[in-house]
């Protein structure tokens, strides 16, 4: 018999007293209705809340360490290795190259622009199918021109014309290009 009140009444030879059974049942329910909140001292001995907080704190710390470590490794590798920088630059150029105006597009300026300004050879080199041509600037690749790679300056883009570029001195600059730079 699982009902303690029924068992109590049975032990007292009063198992047939339904009213007493009902009233004792009400007493039990009323008396055990309130769940007291544990005091701070009692709660300090209770495991689950403390363990959960520790787990969540450790999880946050581990996540932060992973993020910081990943960023640190990436930044360090990029700063330390020229190959990484070059690879990143090539990826960037590959992505942005499709959005830049192609040098094969006829010059809208027509004949009067063709005499004073010719497209840079580096544009054709980026479209070259030769696999052994490197995109890295180097002394063997167009001496005197440090920007002869796939990202060589677009003639129409003033931001890509830099001082020291061989074109700045050997080739004329289209009107409006290179303003603000040193002559």
């Amino acid at each position: 018999m699982t009902d303690p009140i029924a068992r109590l009444l049975l032990e007292a030879d009063m198992s047939g007293d339904a009213e007493l059974h009902r009233l004792l049942n009400e007493l039990q329910k009323d008396a055990t209705a309130i769940h007291p909140m544990p005091s701070a001292e009692v709660a300090a001995h209770m495991v689950p809340a403390r363990r959960q907080s520790v787990i969540s704190r450790h999880g946050a710390v581990v996540t932060a360490l992973i993020v910081v470590g990943t960023l640190g490794v990436g930044v360090t590798a990029a700063a330390a290795s020229p190959d990484v920088r070059a690879a990143a630059q090539q990826v960037f150029q590959t992505v942005t190259g499709g959005h830049l105006p192609s040098s094969t597009i006829p010059d809208p300026l027509g004949s009067h622009g063709a005499s004073s300004w010719t497209p840079l050879p580096s544009r054709s080199s980026s479209a070259s199918p030769h696999p052994n041509r490197t995109n890295h600037p180097g002394p063997t690749d167009h001496p005197g021109n440090g920007a002869t790679n796939a990202a060589s300056p677009d003639p129409g883009d003033p931001h890509t014309t830099t001082p020291g570029n061989g074109h700045a001195s050997s080739e004329p600059i289209p009107p409006g290009v290179g303003k603000g730079h040193t002559p």
């Binding site: 007493l27 008396a31 001995h45």
Partner: protein, 178 residues
Amino acid sequence: MEEEPNRSDDTVAERFTAAYQQLSPAVLGYLRSHGVDDPEATTHEVFLALFRTLDRTAEGGDDVRTMTFSIAHARVVDHHRARTRRPFTVSYDPDSDPRSAPSAEESVTVKLGQHGILPLVNRLEDEQREAVLLRVVAGLTLDETAQVMSKSVGAIKQLQRRGLQSLRSSLNAGSPRD
């Protein structure tokens, strides 16, 4: 082998947590039924005392229940002893003056429902009331009640039978429910 003490501590803490979640409502109700002053604080004291003895208690839940209500029973006895000593140490006790303030038992009656059977239980003799409350509110078995009250099983049977018969007589008379 440094994990053994931690595992033991965890086991005690887990048992303590389970005991509090399962038994604290009954302990609070038991203390309120006895009219203990500040029953919530006394409930916390009971469980803190339980925590100090958990490592000496067997794994079974019934043992923890018996131990918990043994501590609570001792607190109730201390409370009633303190109340009996109070008139000798205090010149005027408003709690014991029915003209000015309700007694603690009446306050508990109001809290637990004046229309219920608790006023009748509170009119029982002390040991009869204790046996009935330990059986009904604490949910102890006959053997556990005998262990808590340090009496024989036969004595507890007699106490609870007389208590219930007295309750039946009071219900027939219908005195406090009218």
